[in-house]
Structures are given as structure tokens and as C-alpha cells.
Amino acid sequence: MEDDKERASASAPPPPSYEEAAFRMFGLLNATASQPGHVHSLRVLGTERTRDSFLKLATSNAFTGMTIADIINDVQHTADRLQRLDIFDSVNVILDTSRDPFAAKDAFDVIFAVKEKSRFFLKTGTEIGNGEGNMNGSITVRNAFGGAEMLETSASFGTRNSSAFQFSLSRPVNASPDARIDVNAHSVVRNNMMFSSHEELVRGVGARFKGLSNWGFHEISYDLSWRTIDRIAENGSLSIRNQAGHSLKSSISHSFVRDRRDDMLLPTKGYYFRFTQELAGVGKIGDTKYLKHEVEASIAHQHGGGEIIRDENGLAKAIAPGIVLSLNVRGGLLATLDDKEANISDKFMLGGPLSIRGFRTCGVGPRDKKDSLGGDAYWATGVSLITPLPKLADKPLRGHVFVNAGSMIPWKTGTSTSDTIKALTASPSVAAGFGIIYRHSVARLELNFCIPLTVARGDMFKRGFQLGLGLNFM
């Protein structure tokens, strides 16, 4: 105590420091951690719309602790779960010895004081995604039926998706913030005029489960959609004309993501892995039958860096980013399960600033005149060396040199492996170049100078400057 007083009189800043309080708190906790205790009662204050049964389920984990340490951990964990359900603005925890006169000696009362988020949520905005921009509006009803259900209706109008309407109703599974199921209905008009001379109208309904496992993030979904390819451009190619018309797809898909990167847009270390499978033709519904696999992996490795960059006053500004080597590999295979050719809406597209730089969007692979037809099998890879710029190391700005390569081919089910490999390696499209990367808080922007090295005949390549805007770069 004397120490405290001395310090208080000696220096100007107020003394009751956070560290001190924390230190004492830890001391107290350490002393009592292993003492027995149990949760006698749990109350959630401040709820109006949330159902009791739902809260019971969401807080059931708080009762298991047998020692004070366990109780504190469990309660903290439960508060964190409540917070992540996205229905409360704040969750405050009060832990006290039980006031119940009949309670045992080591009993505790837990009180969660919460504040519910407003129920209706209106949002309008503009968004930038992978190579597309849109403006959108949505109405969200949070906690619609008192069980953290989310009712979302959204509309958007953009460059790639001319118009999109979506409705979804989701709810957590077992009151867990990490697992949700939803049902959705959507109607989207995709404008593929730029690279495939047509528009695609998709209407559908689906159900989805999103959850975490020990390995990573999973999404399992069923989708029933009616696709119409129409509005073929006056000068559209014959291959695109042959694709026109209606198709019905009933598919289940599973996608698995393990993301261990330190940053989504501009990682410096860690790895990312995604694996997606889709089986179409489920339940003998529809005229689209195929099995589709797609895999993507990337790894980033940092050399040097880590030093603290200080400004002229000697205050820390940023941490030196060092030189990052990043490697990205993608591949996909679509196998039709009947003798029909796959629909262009299901095929893969390759090329563009986000996949193979130095080629136009969907500029690699099968093509008829200026129309990209999509492919059934592809591979693509990219190596980038990302370096800080002199004097700008503290800014989210980097320079990079890269080499991208890939190839996409039409593929028929039953083609032998050796033939497939031959076709995939016969005409690689390769480009190299350098550029600047700007990491904005919502997207990554790249300005590159690209030099196509080898192309397949018909590829739409782009010499010189290319601008890329998106989230998932290669």
C-alpha cells in the first residue's frame, strides 16, 4: 500500500492502473481457484424477446464447474457464446456467492446482464467482391422468434449479378453460435455478356448447414434451382446458342475450409485449404447430373520482418512486414454422370486478375469466337513474392512480382488419366509480371504490369497494365 501512495505522489498519471488491478485479481483467483464451488442459480437479465427455453439451452454449459476456476471459465465461455449469437449488444457477467439462504456454502449465483440488439436492421450499401461491384439493400429481423433466428431479405444490383433477390431464415443448432441451419430462396440474374454473350436467370430454393468441426469450417447444402440461359447477344457464338434454354438442378454440396492465415486479404504466414464437392441429380430430380470437385490451397511464408518501425518521435508505428513468399494452387474436375455435356453455368471459368493475371476475366480455356465456354477440368497456380515498399513499409501497400500459370480443358467422363494429363499440360497459359498491392480494409486492390509468356490459341490475354479488385487472389 505504501508503494502505491509513493507512486501516486511521484508521477502525474493516475495510479490505479489496470495492470495492478489485474495482478491483484489474478492473485485472488490463484488463491481460490481450486476451492470447490458450484453454480446455484443462473439468471439472464434484460431479455424481452428471447425465449427462456432457448436461453436455458444456450447457458446450460455454465453449470458443469466443480471448482471456482471451472465456474469462472465456464461462465466466461458461456458469455462469449451469448455474445457471438449476435442478438445481444452487450453481455455483462456478475458472479456472486449465493444469496439463497437455503443454498450450500460454496454456491454461486450467476447473472448475465444483457442488452438485446434492435430487432429490425435495415442496411443499404455498395459492396465490392471478386471482380464485381454492386449496390444492395437488406432488411434483417434479428431474433425473429426468440431463438436467435435471423430472417433476412436482400436485394442487390450490380455489374456481374444484374439483380439478385434473396430470402433466408436461419437459426442456430442447439443454441450454438458455431452451427447454423438456414433455408433460403433466391432469384438472381447474372450478366455474362462481357465474356460469354448471355444472361443467366437462376431461381431456386435451398437449405444449408454451417458448422465447425475439429478440422475446420464445413458447409453442407442442398439446392434446387431452375436456370435459364437467355438473351444471347446478337453476335453470340453458336456454342453459346446451343447452351440456351432451361435446366433444373438438384444438388447437394459440401465444402470444407481450413483457414490458418493471419490475414485473409494479404496473408504473411499460415495456410488456407478449401475443398468443395457437389453432386447434382439428387433424388432423380432435374436434368443436370454431375459430380464436381474443386480444391484450393495456399501457403504464405514470411522472411525477415518483425522489427518495430518507429516514427521520428520514437513511437512504434508498425511492425516490419518482411518479404512474403506466397504460393497458391487450384484445381477442379467436373464429371457428368450422363452422356450429356455439362451446362455452361456449372462449368469452371478461369483467367482474370484474381486467378491467372495477364489474362482477361474468363480468358483462359475453351472458347468459341469471343465467348468463353467454360471447362470441365482445370489447374492453376501462382507464386508471388511480396515485398514492402521503401519508406512505405508501415502503409498497407506492397510491391510484388508474380508468375501465374494454368490450363482448362473440356473433359468427358471416362477419359483415361494419361490422356487427361496430356490435355491439361499441352497448352499452359503462363504470365509473369510485377505490381503494387493495396490492402484496403474491405478488399485488395492490385495494379499489375503483366507479360503473358505462353498462351493457348484463342486465349484472351492482356499485355501491360491490369487492375484487380477482390478478396480471393491467387
Partner: protein
């Protein structure tokens, strides 16, 4: 109104030492294409098909009239049963693909025929104009009756027509499309009339058929021509489509509905010269 001409943008010549920046030398190597699209080697007519009983003749009047007219004109062409109007530039079948990959539709086909001096016209100018009037009459009067028979006679619509037009689309979208098409037909018929009355529509079809029967007489072709013209193509297409619709033999069906379904067919059958003409045309040009 023409837009004001903007001054041309200045063209900047790159200095010679910057020429390498254009990267003319790149790409260094061009590999063979990963896919070679197949191109038609001769004109291809995209139609609804195949016709009833798997025959080459289309079941759609517009398609069939163009199909047979191209034969009249001596065009060497293939018929493709695409069944997909969305593939056409005008969202309507038929359309003609001319090598390498030009798509022609409607009037464009006639222009193309004229340019290649293949189109068949009647010798006299006055007759040619009159024949155009006949084509319009057939398309309007007989066309309305045919649409009514195909889409609004419940027996035909549900048992025959829907399956023919939308059979290639998967269930249940085909039902939806058929329903939409029916609505469209009703709307198109209501453009010319206030109410749809079966008797009225068939009556005017009967009058048209009588007029055509008189005009044809005992000749091989209309206007006593030595060779068939576009009028013959259109007239034949209508007669053939009407006569080719299978008769529903299902005994469970309502008797009245059955007689309605074949009413238009019976109207054509009343004119023996038209029936003979249709049979002869079919065996000459489509077999």
C-alpha cells in the same frame, strides 16, 4: 437526330525507345487451342422437331413453312431439332445458321435467299402482291384457329402440344412453361378480338379454307404456277400441321372435348383438293 460529333482523341505516338513497352513480342509461344468448336459446313435450319410420328417435318407451322420453302428454293441445308427458342436471336424458331456462323431469322432469311437469287416469286408483280395477301390471311385466320386448337382445346394442349413443345425440359418446369405459353396464346389472340369464341374462330378459319380451296382449284400450286412459292410453303405448312395432329383415341375422354379437338382437322378434310395438295406436296418435297 444524330449526336454531336466529338472531336477525335489525339493519337499519341510512342517514342521509338519505348516501343518494347508494347510487348509485341509477347506471348513468346502460342500453343494449340484446348478446344475446337465445330462449325456447320452448310446452312442449318434450327427448328422444333421431330414432327409427329418421328417424321422429319417439323410440328411447328413457322418452322415447317421455312423448312419446305428452303427446299423449294433449292437450298442445300441441314435440319436441326433444337427445340430451344432462346437460342435464336429473335427468341423464336426457326432461324437459319449460315456458315461460318451467321444467324438469320425472319425477313433476313428472305433477304439472304434474294441475295443468292434463290427466292421463288410468282412471275407477275400483281400476283406476287396478291399472294402476300393470301399469306397474311392464312397466318391471321388459320393461324388463330391453329393456335386455338393446339393450346386452348384442353385435350390437345394437355396430351399433345405441351409435350411436343416442352417435352425436352425437365418436370415440373415443362408444365410451368406450357402454362405460360397458353397465357401468351390467349393474350395474342385477344389482340384482334374482345372475346374468344370457339365458333367464331373456327368459322373464319372455314371461310379462309374455302377461299384457299377455290383459289387452288385443281392446280398443282397456287396461282397456277409451275413451281411452288412462299404461299405454297405457308399453306402447305398449315394444312400439314393441322392434318398431322394425332387424333386422341382415349375412350375415357369427354366426347364433346374430342370432337372439339378435331374440329379444325375436319374443316380441312372437307376440302378434298387441299388434302390431295398436302399429300402430294409432302411426298414430293419432304420424303
Amino acid at each position: 437526330m444524330s449526336r454531336p460529333q466529338l472531336p477525335a482523341l489525339p493519337t499519341i505516338e510512342l517514342p521509338a525507345f519505348l516501343e518494347p513497352l508494347k510487348l509485341k513480342k509477347f506471348p513468346l509461344k502460342t500453343f494449340p487451342a484446348t478446344y475446337e468448336p465445330t462449325r456447320p459446313t452448310k446452312p442449318t435450319l434450327q427448328v422444333f422437331g421431330p414432327g409427329w410420328e418421328g417424321k422429319q417435318a417439323s410440328f411447328d407451322v413457322d418452322c415447317l413453312s421455312m423448312q419446305v420453302y428452303l427446299k423449294f428454293c433449292g437450298v442445300d441445308f441441314d435440319v436441326v431439332h433444337s427445340n430451344e427458342p432462346y437460342a435464336s436471336p429473335k427468341v423464336k424458331l426457326p432461324y437459319l445458321v449460315v456458315p461460318p456462323d451467321h444467324c438469320l431469322y425472319g425477313e433476313q432469311i428472305h433477304h439472304w435467299l434474294q441475295k443468292n437469287e434463290k427466292s421463288k416469286k410468282l412471275g407477275k408483280e400483281a400476283e406476287d402482291i396478291e399472294s402476300k395477301a393470301y399469306v397474311t390471311m392464312i397466318e391471321k385466320k388459320l393461324g388463330a384457329a391453329l393456335l386455338f386448337t393446339l393450346w386452348l382445346e384442353p385435350l390437345n394442349a394437355s396430351e399433345l402440344t405441351s409435350a411436343k413443345y416442352f417435352g425436352h425440359v425437365s418436370n415440373p418446369i415443362d408444365k410451368l412453361l406450357a402454362y405460360r405459353k397458353k397465357e401468351e396464346v390467349v393474350q395474342s389472340l385477344l389482340i384482334d378480338r374482345d372475346v374468344l369464341i370457339r365458333e367464331e374462330i373456327y368459322q373464319s378459319a372455314a371461310e379462309t379454307l374455302s377461299a384457299l380451296s377455290v383459289k387452288l382449284g385443281a392446280n398443282d400450286y397456287f396461282f397456277g404456277s409451275d413451281y411452288p412459292t412462299y404461299l405454297d410453303a405457308v399453306a402447305f405448312a398449315y394444312f400439314h400441321v393441322i392434318l398431322a395432329i394425332p387424333q386422341i383415341t382415349d375412350s375415357n375422354a369427354d366426347k364433346e372435348a374430342k370432337s372439339h379437338a378435331t374440329e379444325l382437322r375436319n374443316l380441312v378434310l372437307n376440302h378434298s383438293n387441299l388434302v390431295k395438295y398436302t399429300k402430294k406436296m409432302y411426298s414430293t418435297w419432304l420424303k
